[in-house]
Symmetry: C2
Subunit: 343 residues, 2 copies
Amino acid sequence: MQSDLSGITNIALDAMGGDYAPAEPVKGAVDAVNVRDDIKIFLLGQEDVVARELEKYTYPKEQIQVVHAPEVIETAEPPVNAIRGKKQSSIVIGMNMVKRQEADAFVSAGSSGAVLVGGQVIVGRIKGIERPPLAPLIPTEKGVSLLIDCGANVDARSSHLVQFAKMGSIYMENVLHISKPRVAIVNIGAEEEKGNALVKETIPLLRALEDIHFVGCIEAREIPRGAADVIVCEAFVGNVILKLYEGLSSTLIGVIKKGMMSTLKSKIGAALALPSLKSTIKAFDASQYGGAPLLGLNGLVVKTHGSSKAQEITNAVYQCVTFKQQDINGKIRKNIIGSQEQK
Amino acid sequence: MQSDLSGITNIALDAMGGDYAPAEPVKGAVDAVNVRDDIKIFLLGQEDVVARELEKYTYPKEQIQVVHAPEVIETAEPPVNAIRGKKQSSIVIGMNMVKRQEADAFVSAGSSGAVLVGGQVIVGRIKGIERPPLAPLIPTEKGVSLLIDCGANVDARSSHLVQFAKMGSIYMENVLHISKPRVAIVNIGAEEEKGNALVKETIPLLRALEDIHFVGCIEAREIPRGAADVIVCEAFVGNVILKLYEGLSSTLIGVIKKGMMSTLKSKIGAALALPSLKSTIKAFDASQYGGAPLLGLNGLVVKTHGSSKAQEITNAVYQCVTFKQQDINGKIRKNIIGSQEQK
């Protein structure tokens, strides 16, 4: 606990976002403040609804404050319209709190589109950052890797990917405490002459960077094996990787469960093996590591999965504390200014 | 068996390609001709090596002929150099047999790059086809889907994707016998306003086609659920999907096996459940459906996985027979000429 060194981290938390709102975000907030005293959480949502949820729990009252946000942005709403139209929504209010530095971070399990748009439009980019990437952690055999970018802005340029590589490296080193994180770019072969125009243009730029540990190209096949810590790609490709990860994992686990239920003998086997199996599958679940940060903003915005339960929310809150204490944005600023001076 | 209707299918088979060459390709050839009498296989490879393998088996001698190919293209060789330099390799000889119509198809588990380059450079494209896509079948909950394109030529144009959609639809309808195959384009959301420039440009073109059943955008998450029969994408994205499919499946199955071996109780459970589990995982294995055709060529080239065993080779051979009997190239020609007349 480093609260004496760096003070309190103020976190705006969307109590209305995600499939299990408000129950799970509220529980996540309570769990976090019951463990750590260096956190203050602003719970954003319809006041009566949130207050009713909060009444179920015992917690240090001074660490949670409800902020009334009467409007709710639905997942299906066009993001730009939602951000413009619903000024009293939890997402817009939370983003504005970060912008005004009333909060260090905003955490939401709500509409991805609205969170991405709000982060860029309301919170705004760090000067010199061309594009803020969404960077979820994905599970691997060896732990987790940062997949950067999975955001909304596709058709990136090579200069964007270079910044993604730097920001991702800073994040993994300082938030996940991985020394000299291995940075790789997604390609369709290990050889550098392969790839599309964007990748071919980006490889020499990454190789020229002295402040990251660039290990070359990574084929998608190697990602689940944990062959790199920071996996750089353009957002369309990143989105395909992230979604296929989710879809294929859930399909395969479903197929396997079905297979184990097909005969009486295998049913008995399944019953015996299931507890161990569950804990293994749980380890292959990114949610325990918190949410996906939208990096390069004047503040921090973290998007957690729409199906987030309290534990994921709590972990996302802790992630915000580390982010502040490690001064990630200070490091990003220094790094970007450093590279601009080289030009 | 339709041998009386369509005669013999002549197949040039690379006996030197893949991790288990020559043993498995040779066994695959023998198995095929022992089942069907409407196939003739030319086994391409170093004559003495192939002949020695063949001696192990009983089969109708007139259905297999060894063609001497003294040179071998290694997987690591740069494809263009290999195709240009090794005229006496099994791949170059096989491609030339297709070009000269001495063979209807060429099947290889060897170097992907050399097979892709050879197909385009030696066999050549059907007039009007802008780019020949590599189209593997990938396993889903419901069976298989055709992923088109996973080839070597990235940065496609929308007109390429339109042809992929048409060719994929013809293939799934006539080779896999799926009536009115559902064609979808890979996108980062179900909504048509999302996506990169290429996808946005292609969607209205696909929607305007009357000869395919276009069902809109597919997110990568939905692919393992079997939400479409023909999955259209640019080759870089297709390659990422294919490789991640392989990598994630093998990692997850490994993780699950390890999980089931972690306690004595779960070990006993695993022993009981394993036979059922194996047959389920087997069903989620694309190799039983044969290899990936390189479509749109003057003939047929099929690439099977580098780790192909005899069964996959045999299935690829059968696939070639269906391809010929269903006159897929005739249908592709008619379809392309048809759409050119509309312009």
